[in-house]
Symmetry: C2
Subunit: 337 residues, 2 copies
Amino acid sequence: MSQIRKPPTMADIARVTGVSPMTVSRAFKTDSLISKETRDAILKAAEDLGYVFDATASNLRSQKTDFVAVTIPSINNANFADTVGGLSETLAARNMQILLGYTNYDMQEEERLIEQLLRRKPEAIVVTGGKHTARARKLLENAPIPVIETWDVPAEPIGRFVGFSNAGVVRGMVDHLVRTGYSRIAFIGGDVGRDTRGSDRRQGFLEAMRQHGLDTSRLIAAGPPPISMREGANAMARLLEQFPDTEAVICVSDLSAFGALTECQRRGMRVPEDISIGGFGAYEIGSICVPTLTTIDAHARDIGRKTGSLLLDILDGKQDVGDVLIKPQLIVRESTR
Amino acid sequence: MSQIRKPPTMADIARVTGVSPMTVSRAFKTDSLISKETRDAILKAAEDLGYVFDATASNLRSQKTDFVAVTIPSINNANFADTVGGLSETLAARNMQILLGYTNYDMQEEERLIEQLLRRKPEAIVVTGGKHTARARKLLENAPIPVIETWDVPAEPIGRFVGFSNAGVVRGMVDHLVRTGYSRIAFIGGDVGRDTRGSDRRQGFLEAMRQHGLDTSRLIAAGPPPISMREGANAMARLLEQFPDTEAVICVSDLSAFGALTECQRRGMRVPEDISIGGFGAYEIGSICVPTLTTIDAHARDIGRKTGSLLLDILDGKQDVGDVLIKPQLIVRESTR
DNA sequence: TAGTTGGATGGTATCGATAACAAAGGCGTT
DNA sequence: AACGCCTTTGTTATCGATACCATCCAACTA
């Protein structure tokens, strides 16, 4: 069960096979110059000895790790998970491995995390969001690798970005609701100051409402992000108490929107007849619950895929690479008239 | 924006500060013997030069990576995400980093992944599930590090395990439903042969039904795992066509259970009056949807935390470490009578 | 036949940090 | 004053794979 002797190295295989360590090394690289017989003999010896390639040594000498560092706010969020999935599938073609870290929606934690990740000498770093602490920004700027910011359009991009305007998407939702005939519209979001994308969405709500000359006081802060279904339900309860005449609610995500929906159902209110609900993120739940939820699809997986191919282009030294502006899409479903 | 000269090393800091590289190295280790003045001078020089610690070199020389390799079926599953979260928070105390890989519910892919992960020389490896390909098993057995299997009670454990009987939990659910007075009970799960935990749950269903002398033919295969809400809804539709007199359904997860619930709602059926529904996993949705879902809480986060502390105990050389048997808990809610 | 080409292989130094050991200096004790 | 001990710092070798350059030899050309 447990090994006492230490694991074999390429030198051991070389000894057994009667070749030089250099040749053993070549046998493990797919595109190298080596005869088929030699390679087969080496691979067989490796299998027999139970050899496991040592990436730490390879990394140091070749100054390549095949790591791509990625920070996301939370692993428990289908949107970010999808982005990581899309990125992962794109990078798999190059045998690159994702080194994932969670910031827990905290810029301080992000800073700490970025520092830790950079120590592992990744080939590139992908961060979620376009706002960072001063120190984190400096770390990223000084890093000798490509930096990509996602899920946002940074005020001052560090490297390239793949994102969209979080304020813009909510403006679009407000515009749609106003066009449909609503005017008493509320917003349920997280506490200001933590989730920067959430704050941007709330900002977009305020701007759009002002532009339409509508009341902007219907704001419910549902606690620190991420806002759960339960917190969405609680926020809806508070909203209905404070502003019983509200006609429509925009929630910071489909999860809180679903929570809000269940609160209405428990109170015997009909959606959308008595109140309309809009979400964000095109989570599966919004497409299947009763009634289905009007939402905004940010194309989370696509963000990951496009980040991946942008990254590969940069690493390949392509010259004409540019930022990628994602076009989120309003999906009107049963929860709004 | 981009650096031309190559990043500074400890040797550079040593030159600037007028000490030996060894002393610089010591300045970065918290518990080492070094005077406060020297350390401060070194850290300041490091900051000025924009030094970033090189973990690849450190890893090679010290033969320690502080990596813990983890395989999970899918990142897009709140249960496994919770387990990773619990593990992550436990390991954070030791500054260990999780190296995560997704098997996509595929044992072949798991084998490939385990091989890739072992190359990075992790300090330990945590795999989800207790069934593996022969080669994967061999790789794990030969690995000179602790191996922990989770979310299952392996027939032949490789190292330690932190899990529960997937068949057992469903047996418990069936027993409960039978006790409550149901007899025409169905099971909605994934296709056999892929998701081993899902297959075990289905097996538990069959065993329990036979034990009670009940009809075991009400089985719906909803496609390859993971089973989405949509697939749960479709499966429910098929179930209602094939076996319209079904009294209760057990779904392989809360997500498919919720899908099944929505299908009933769209058909104007009442839950639990017309049909009862049970799920698995204690996802948030089951605690908030209308009606709330009867489910089984496998204590996903707890599995992660316990795996973490078991791991630390093993790495610390504790002698009395044993397997951890998780006690999943039946939570009876509104979706069953 | 001599010269050239290119595929296959070997030798050596090196990536950057640190384990292991050595040594210098300060302080207290007898 | 001599000794030992502890704190702080330095020296050297090393982790394991591979970049770089050299070499060998068979096959082909002129």
